[in-house]
């Protein structure tokens, strides 16, 4: 029973059950579409939480990696006829390599400076995607071929639901494993006190680089899948605002909480869909939600909720 309540086993089981049972209650493709977008955002946010929540390094530029992954898949499959899976992997590897090169200088920065550095990085990526119209179609965007593996084509919301759901489950499992390992402890130690981590033998620079690369690769994979699923992408995927959306999901759900990230992604993906009804108020309400959660529940939803439950049960 105790083992089931531990986040690694219990939480993972709960997530698997939700993913398995959700299709039974989703009435139509509109809802499937929302669920898929939740899953894709959650994949990115799990990675981003490793960076922000666990290792304590903020990034306001991860949509840049998401966009690069999306365009890598679009270009390699569409313009060069690569197999989808190869494009996804090569895109992720290239984004990982870029993140590796950027990590060392950028992660020397702390706090607001790091926020600005990553912001600048993301904005530059988005400007490049906008301006290289010959390659990317510019602001008008470009179509993306369907995802195809060994002659089988992923088509339709229901198929994508299972692909994204499965990927999210695996990503969550790997992330939970990582944070429970010595590497995960090293990351959290860096968040707690970088100097203390150093003097007890944690090579902080190496681990910061590692987690930056992991989060970038997950963003890229999320971007690739999004590109194939939606069939059409624009540079707005890489925009500053999109980076902010990812960070907000992480912080809203709860820093240093893997399942919090999934919850945050779910809320902030579902909310605008329904706010769309009150089209004019959408931006206003989103801003108000961001502010009030941070002011009143600074730890984020899931950790605050867990604390409440723990206090009740004591």
């Amino acid at each position: 029973m105790r083992a089931l309540l531990a986040p690694r086993t219990g939480g993972l089981l709960a997530l698997a059950i939700v993913i398995a049972l959700l299709p039974a209650v989703l009435p139509n493709n509109f809802y499937f579409n929302v669920a898929i977008l939740v899953g894709l955002n959650a994949i990115v946010c799990v990675g981003l939480n490793l960076l922000i929540g666990y290792a304590g390094q903020i990034s306001l530029g991860h949509a840049g990696f998401f966009g690069l992954g999306a365009y890598a898949s679009a270009l390699l499959t569409g313009s060069y006829g690569w197999p989808s899976l190869a494009a996804l992997v090569v895109g992720a590897a290239a984004v990982g390599a870029l993140a590796f090169l950027l990590a060392r200088p950028i992660l020397k920065l702390k706090g607001h400076y790091l926020a600005m550095g990553t912001l600048g990085m993301g904005v530059i990526i988005s400007i490049v995607l906008n301006q290289e119209a010959g390659l990317t179609g510019g602001p008008d965007g470009m179509p993306v071929p369907a995802f195809e593996v060994w002659g089988w084509t992923a088509y339709g919301e229901r198929t994508w639901y299972w692909i994204v759901g499965g990927t999210l489950l695996v990503t969550t499992w790997l992330a939970l494993n990582l944070i429970e390992s010595p590497i995960g402890r090293a990351l959290r130690a860096i968040h707690g006190s970088e100097i203390a981590a150093e003097v007890i033998g944690v090579k902080t620079e190496r681990f910061k680089t590692l987690v930056f690369v992991i989060s970038a690769v997950l963003a890229s994979v999320g971007g690739s899948m999004f590109a194939h699923y939606s069939g059409f992408i624009t540079p707005s995927e890489a925009e500053f605002f999109h980076s902010i959306a990812f960070v907000t999901m992480v912080v809203l759900g709860g820093m240093a909480s893997i399942f919090g990230s999934i919850l945050g992604a779910a809320i902030l993906t579902v909310l605008p869909q329904f706010l769309a009804v009150l089209h004019d108020y959408e931006t206003l309400v989103l801003g108000a939600v961001m502010m009030s959660v941070m002011i009143f529940l600074p730890k984020g939803l899931l950790p605050s909720l867990a604390e409440l439950l723990r206090r009740r049960s004591l």
Binding site: N177, E180, R185, A186, A189, I195, A196, R206
Partner: protein, 260 residues
Amino acid sequence: MSALTVAGLSKNFGGLSAVSELSFTVEEGQIFSIIGPNGAGKTTVFNLITGVYRPDSGRVWLHGEEIGGKPPSALAGQGLTRTFQNLQIFFNMSALENVMVGADRTAETGFASALLRLPAVRRRDAGAGKQAVALMERVGLAAYLGADAASLPYGALKRLEIARALATRPKLLLLDEPAAGLNHAETREIDNLIRSIAEDGVTVILVEHDMRLVMGISDRILVLDRGVWLAEGSAEEVGRNPDVVRAYLGTEFAGSADAA
């Protein structure tokens, strides 16, 4: 062989000399204390030895091997670690996990095996956990095995830092004011703990304001004044030294209460 040799160490901050031309040697197995009035540069010496600061000039040898310019994490791998004057606890982790980070040989953990939680990682985790529990018991924190670091009282946090440092299996341990802010009984416990660490063969360098603790425990004492070597010797020798008396009477009377 000497555990640590420092020769001609100097450091300036914005033109102000914090440490100047400092040389000393610490023999293996000693408890070696560095004392001096506030602003004498004791913590700066620690920061220079452990690679937190880069010296402007001077050289440092650890067990005969030159260590100048190496990052703190590399020095930890060579058996040199420290605690901090103002606590540097990982408040986002449990008390036990704080110590486990010290026990983890993080550099040796494979990324893929950590991701997949292969048996090797599980064994390593269990080993680090067991070691951390033993160390927490040793420093007297058995009551906090399941606690979040943030919930520990101040005195316990001081000992948690020592347990975390011991978890790295140091050969040379630098303790920066381990008794600061502790009451009389707690100071006695720290005193005993330091002695038992030294008995295990760990060389200890101690910076401390509590003179009774220093005088009772130290094999050798180095006195610094404004970053400069003032005197060195046994507790008795240092206590008789007129320069030391002058330095302390001149400044310590006025400001012994605040541990800058």
